[in-house]
């Protein structure tokens, strides 16, 4: 899926809308992300990432996205950014890093764009 033309509620270019069908698609994966709030679950996840994903019932595509840390794919496959962020935090990555991934920039470039007042439409 191309993030420039998200499937979803409105046709707002570059703007994923986390609607009911998206949330249904991502439910198992999002629940898995939420479970990573506890140290015990983070350890279990890190010890056997694919086993942990299977336990939560992720689809093969979701599991691949998680194992590959394909952040865009996680969003496309129903991830909510607030949930996906739990995985990023565990990896020591920031929301600016993710912002860079979504916009094709390095974390530094993304941060610089934010410090310059943020990005604009068009």
């Amino acid at each position: 899926m191309n993030p420039e033309t998200p499937a979803g509620r409105f046709d707002l270019p570059g703007t994923p809308v986390f609607d009911g069908q998206t949330s249904r698609r991502g439910l198992r994966m999002n629940k898995m992300f939420m479970s990573l709030r506890t140290a015990q679950n983070r350890e279990r996840f890190l010890a056997d990432q694919s086993g942990y994903c299977e336990e939560f019932g992720l689809t093969p595509e979701q599991q691949r996205a998680v194992l590959d840390r394909d952040w865009q794919a996680m969003i496309d496959l129903g991830g909510s950014i607030f949930y996906v962020y739990k995985l990023a935090m565990m990896d020591g990555l920031s929301m600016q890093y993710l912002g860079g991934v979504f916009t094709g920039m390095t974390e530094q470039e993304f941060q610089a764009a934010m410090r310059a007042g943020g990005r604009r439409d068009g």
């Binding site: 409105f10 703007t15 999002n30 929301m95 007042g117 990005r119 439409d121």
Partner: protein, 285 residues
């Protein structure tokens, strides 16, 4: 009766809390933001209410996606600070006011607001960062008990801006009808413009934010007329959480006086805004 004495609108970006918790408020990237809070904090320190109502949303910490309430209210006597995945923030747990919660609940349900009751709730940065914006050094306890009101801003369909404003107005009537004398501070949290995912991530709209900051005081009904689509387009997919400011504003008088406001970009990926309004000003006849 109880009386709303002030309303504080503020972003609740987690990095604002993190900057405070890690002593970075004098850091060049943060100094202007925290300097901007100072006048509001000074005024608030002189105007401590008996109880505060905090309107916020949870971010994958207190509630999961299996059950998504449009509006919720906590009725507990204590709300533990959530561990969001990197340890609890070093701030006090939040003391509740179940008696007020249950009064508000009954009044609001009677007025046709279909609230979900939370008898247990861990509160995340959505609630604790605004408390820190208000009270940077709480010591062992926040200044007063808190009633949390939760809003679904994450999953479409969010409540409309109009519905949020109407909830605020009903909340104002419910507060006025409380049988006990009490002063109330009300916090509307979230925003301002930001978008975290998608090719438009990092989107900031200072023109919209400036308009919102002014109009929330002078003509909230105009903001309440904005559609979800318009809000997401103009404020970003996460900026739609500004609808929570309308609940705060709805609970206040028609005329309010601005004590202070400040706007700062960026707090992490977000335009951070703060606006403090005094509710005790003479109303037009």
């Amino acid at each position: 009766m109880a009386e709303v004495i002030w309303g504080l609108a503020t972003s609740h970006v987690p990095s604002i809390g993190a900057a405070m918790d890690r002593g970075k408020t004098e850091d060049p990237t943060w100094k202007d933001l925290f300097d901007g809070y100072a006048p509001a904090r000074a005024w608030l320190a002189e105007h401590e209410p008996d109880v505060a109502i905090v309107i916020y949303n949870d971010h994958a910490n207190g509630i999961d996606l299996d059950i998504i309430p449009t509006f919720g209210i906590g009725t507990a006597d204590r709300y533990q600070v959530a561990d969001e995945g990197f340890g609890q923030r070093p701030v006090p747990d939040v003391i509740g006011d179940p008696e007020l919660s249950l009064h508000l609940l009954e009044h609001l349900v009677d007025e046709g607001f279909d609230l979900t009751v939370f008898q247990e709730l861990e509160v995340d940065h959505g609630l604790t960062v605004p408390l820190s914006v208000w009270t940077p050094d709480p010591g062992d306890a926040w200044p007063c008990p808190v009633v949390p009101i939760l809003v679904n801003v994450i999953q479409y369909p969010q409540p409309t801006a109009a519905r949020c404003y109407a909830l605020g107005q009903a909340l104002g009537r419910a507060i006025a009808g409380y049988p006990k004398d009490a002063t109330v501070g009300i916090l509307g949290t979230g925003g301002m413009s930001h978008q975290l995912a998608g090719a438009r991530a990092g989107y900031i709209n200072p023109e919209f934010d400036t308009m919102w900051m002014e109009t929330i005081q002078t003509d909230p009904a105009r903001l309440a007329a904005l559609s979800r689509e318009e809000l997401i387009r103009q404020a970003g997919s996460e900026g739609i959480e500004l609808i929570m400011w309308l609940i705060m504003r709805g609970a206040m008088n028609d005329q309010v006086a601005k004590i202070h406001s400040h706007y700062f970009v960026p707090a992490s990926n977000t335009a951070a805004g703060v606006a403090l309004f005094d509710n005790r000003v003479s109303q037009p006849a």
